[in-house]
Amino acid sequence: MNWLTRAKKGIITWRKKDVPDGLWEKCPSCGEILYRKELGKHLSICPKCRFHFRINASDYIDILTDDGTFSEINSGITSSDPLDFKDSKKYKDRLKASKKKTGRNSAIVTGTAAIKGHKAVIAIMDFSFMGGSMGSAVGEKIVRAVKKAIEERLPFVMVTASGGARMQESILSLMQMAKSSAAFAMLSRAELPYIAILTNPTTGGVAASFAFQGDIIIAEPQALIGFAGPRVISETVGEELPEGFQRSEFLLEHGMIDMITSRDELKGKLGFFLDSFMSGVSAIAEDKNLENDGKTISIIR
């Protein structure tokens, strides 16, 4: 067998061990071997095919918010293992490992920050914390963040990255879908904007709740977005899934999202929408100010 046939048959493939750990990374989309430092400089976007590598919550804070303006809230909130759940591993141990790995107490970071000069409440899910799964801690942090936005009349920006509800909290995690939805219903009644940025992956209970409740829904390119996971679907329907199924481009085509925006352009888009929405919000507040005969209503800007 010659080299070419062997390569075609997949006998010669790049394996993890071929790529020195920490220095190089292989693009899962085009196969290009990339120098990790270089990749980091490009917001972890493959320079060859524009594939978006997964990045963590801190990276999004750097990318989306104005330097030094992010101030975290409720960072200590963490899951308490109410079911004393154990599968092949104890939930308590999985939590401990995730905390150690990420330096965070839950799968979401919430806080306030300026984005292109607009003060906003921002929530960013962290996939590296148990697959960004939503348990009680995530639900509670979202509710508190939304309440803060309402109190201070601020817009809300969310970055999702999650496989869905956290099985280890069973029914309590399912309820976080309703709990967070109640919060975004409140935000909506307060006529404050909510911009959702969906990254790879956004599925299950997170997709079927706040990810799809945004006034504006933006997705990163090629992100997996859907309710059921692709494997469950193909097992259920007993057929191969169409090319590109449940990817951002598919969702745009089916009218489910407003736009696909690559990571390096996200902040600019946010700036545009926050500017557009918040000038309306401020105008309403000013009108109310006049109506109230000089009684002051604070306008947050």
Partner: protein, 314 residues
């Protein structure tokens, strides 16, 4: 089901003895009271996995069975007005105790043919959108709502995803917090994941004793966390999905105890318990001004979840 065998054997014996003129009535009534004792024992000492089987029992009354039994009249309404009519979800206007009420729920179907045509109670986006349409109609005409839950989950299909399954569920979950009419939810069988929750937000959430409510099926959970569907019984007990667990975790307001051991043993008797309970819940809920009711609905869900918080953060 295997665990029901002693109950059926005793019941068959009673039936045979009833035919026999030599057996006196006293003996039969003794056996009948032994039967109800046995029902209590058998159905109240099941493992979590057996409880799942019972919740999925092929003879267990479905939503339409209950609707027929609890409402004097019922006019089913069809379609979401955007795409189609989902047979996995039924809804319409009924009369209970002479009062109009919007009733909706998942319908699994009563036999194999029906189950296939009802897609086993697994809804597509048009099903969820139909319920939202009916919720808004109920609000408009000041009708209370009864929502009946019985589904393995939302349908994981190509078409469902294409038509926006996540958005359809997300819409229901958000909109329901603004529906200005009392909503009573009864989980009668399987409360499976987001597909159940999309219909299960309300002011009073009740659960039949042998219903189950979970974020994922035990089989699905076992496949992911244990890497083997065979471990479903273990997953079922880890998931804490029984009505007693749900009450303990503050997910439901109350359990409706099943008469004659289990709902399928006496559909009429159990339907009567449901209708009495729904009536008393509505009586209670309608005393609140609607703004208070909506506030309480929101607060009920805000309170769900258990977490830890260091004191300096509070």
């Amino acid at each position: 089901m295997e665990f029901e065998r002693p109950v059926f054997e005793l019941q068959a014996r009673i039936e045979t003895l009833k035919q026999d003129s030599r057996v006196n009535a006293g003996e039969i009534s003794k056996l009948i009271s032994k039967l109800s004792e046995l029902e209590g024992q058998v159905y109240r000492s099941l493992s979590a996995w057996e409880r799942v089987q019972l919740a999925r029992h092929p003879k267990r009354p479905t939503t339409l069975d209950y609707i027929r039994m609890i409402s004097d009249e019922f006019e089913e309404l069809h379609g979401d007005r955007y795409y189609g009519d989902d047979p996995a979800i039924v809804g319409g206007i009924g009369k209970m105790f002479g009062m109009p009420i919007m009733i909706m729920g998942h319908e699994k179907g009563g036999n194999t043919r029906e189950r296939i045509s009802r897609n086993f109670g697994m809804a597509r986006p048009e099903g969820f959108r139909k319920t939202l349409r009916l919720l808004k109609m109920a609000e408009k005409f000041s009708m209370p709502v009864l929502s009946i839950i019985d589904t393995p989950g939302a349908y994981p299909g190509i078409d469902a995803e294409q038509r926006g399954q996540p958005r359809a569920i997300a819409d229901n979950l958000k909109e329901i917090f603004g529906i200005r009419t009392p909503i009573v939810v009864v989980i009668i069988g399987e409360g499976g994941s987001g597909g159940a929750l999309a219909l299960a937000v309300g002011d009073s959430i009740l659960m039949m004793e042998h219903a189950v409510y979970s974020v994922i099926s035990p089989e699905g959970c076992a496949a992911i966390l244990w890497k083997s569907r065979e471990k479903a019984p273990e997953a079922a007990s880890s998931l804490r999905l029984t009505s007693e667990d749900c009450l303990k975790f503050g997910i439901i307001d109350d359990i409706i105890e099943e008469v004659h051991g289990a709902a399928h043993r006496d559909p009429e008797g159990n339907a009567e318990k449901i209708s009495e309970r729904v009536a008393s819940e509505l009586e209670r809920l309608q005393k609140h001004p609607i703004d208070i009711l909506l506030k309480k609905r929101e607060e009920k869900f805000f309170a769900m979840g258990e977490f830890e918080e260091p004191p300096q953060d509070a």
